[in-house]
Assembly symmetry: C2
Amino acid sequence: MALKSTDLNPHVVALAGGVGGAKLAHGLARILPSGHLTVIVNTGDDFAHRGLHISPDLDTVMYTLGEIANPKTGWGLDGDTFQNFEMMEHYGVAPWFRLGDRDLATHFVRTEGLKNGQTLTQVTQQLSKALGIQQSILPATDDSCATVLDTQEYGRLEFQEYFVKFRWQPTVVGISYKGEGEARVTDAALESIAHADLVVICPSNPLLSVEPILRLRGMREAIQARRVPCVALSPLIDGKAVKGPAAKLMGELNLDASVIGIATYYAGLIDGLVIDTADGDAVAELRKVAPALSLYVTQTLMETIEDRERLAGEILKWDIGGD
Amino acid sequence: MALKSTDLNPHVVALAGGVGGAKLAHGLARILPSGHLTVIVNTGDDFAHRGLHISPDLDTVMYTLGEIANPKTGWGLDGDTFQNFEMMEHYGVAPWFRLGDRDLATHFVRTEGLKNGQTLTQVTQQLSKALGIQQSILPATDDSCATVLDTQEYGRLEFQEYFVKFRWQPTVVGISYKGEGEARVTDAALESIAHADLVVICPSNPLLSVEPILRLRGMREAIQARRVPCVALSPLIDGKAVKGPAAKLMGELNLDASVIGIATYYAGLIDGLVIDTADGDAVAELRKVAPALSLYVTQTLMETIEDRERLAGEILKWDIGGD
């Protein structure tokens, strides 16, 4: 099961959501040879806004791998302007989803491509190519499978309402995936997993970023059928999310908002778990809860590009199952 | 029939296309009391682009009356940026229709309004209000009636292909109006004509800007049923258009590209014609060709805002039929 530490040029498949996942994917992209990384990206957040098909996580991964992402927010384009948004406000239309002028072009091209019969996979490939991205970015599905949240305060919310409009403050009592049972993982994604030497579940929100990928028809089976290691990185450090609602949400849904909860959540799916040094104390309990799980303790916070590369490098050098 | 020169606060209805029409409408707007001007605008150029409903002439009139138009081009917004367009080019999508970032907001609001069941009249009212426009801007129709051109070189072209993509260089062998016979002038436009003290056909392209208005069901009858003067301003000066294809097009369709041709074109519809001093020589022949037509000779070129006001003022003071 172990990824040979001598295999310096593995083919890696990473499952990613937004900012956190994109950062690790970027680290992997920078140290792997061209064409050796495939990022399978969550599309559960996709939505229509002003007639445009917006894929927030795909954009974040594309912009990050293209090294044109806004370094402050992690999403959107570096140096983008907001003339269009300001004029919308002038018209008294105050859209809670603030789109940059250059960012809008991505949505235009995607929407037009889909309207012309291209798949989301094809459009993403076209956009990635134009952005000079050497690695393969794949939407997890070409079908629609939208994450919706049942909240205490507002009832059922679309993902972007919950996440952007209400800034993930409502209390979530349930999550569902509209399209589940129908939506299929793409053939391209399945193929990348079949040819992978390593599968990495990025430090993305398990419920909102990874689960929408795992719920797709064919996905869980494909990962389970692998003959190579699958490792996850905990998105929680000392029980807290780096950003976003991962910890809050796990608590609301009676999951343990800690590395123990993460290990439990991915039980049966992963061979290794990377946790932060801040969670070193949890190793003993993790060994009890998940005796077969390989553990790797390191600094997981990615503040700089060097952090991303270093973390990615440690994962690739890790002799999973050898501990 | 004469508009009393003592009536200093007439209600004026202007029929307008794009830049030239907008300039005169602006002059009228600046000297008439608030609410005394209604501009009925050509929508034959309207088209869909990137999923957006674009109304070029409505926008030009709105931006001009709102005093936010680009003073160099006459259309688009002053100081607008083109970040979105540049990014589209970066994606290898080279749209021949160059939309500004702020301008895009107008199309978003209009498209969304129409999608939500608003009429074009209602959306235009909403946009005008937000831009602080005191005068009434009305699309000639809420229906679709698109100007299409049969050309020698490329066969049938949509208006914007002909006008923007091919920069009106193809030779036109015929014009038709898709929707003619079905599309109706709006009730609001009819009402404004019924209450007008003066109807002005702006110096717009007769075939491409005015004819699409006149062809609407109910329009010609409404103007013919008026009990007030209707005057036109020649868009041609010394046989040439100030800008655009008016003269070229009239020639291609075997019409006389001169003030004589304009008088002939509007025969039976207008009581007065304003021509430029450069066409003073044509007065004698005009009197022969159209003996009942009042003529007014003045400087019609509107280079400054003062020109617009002066020309508008002369029209309002003109004792039509008194010559």
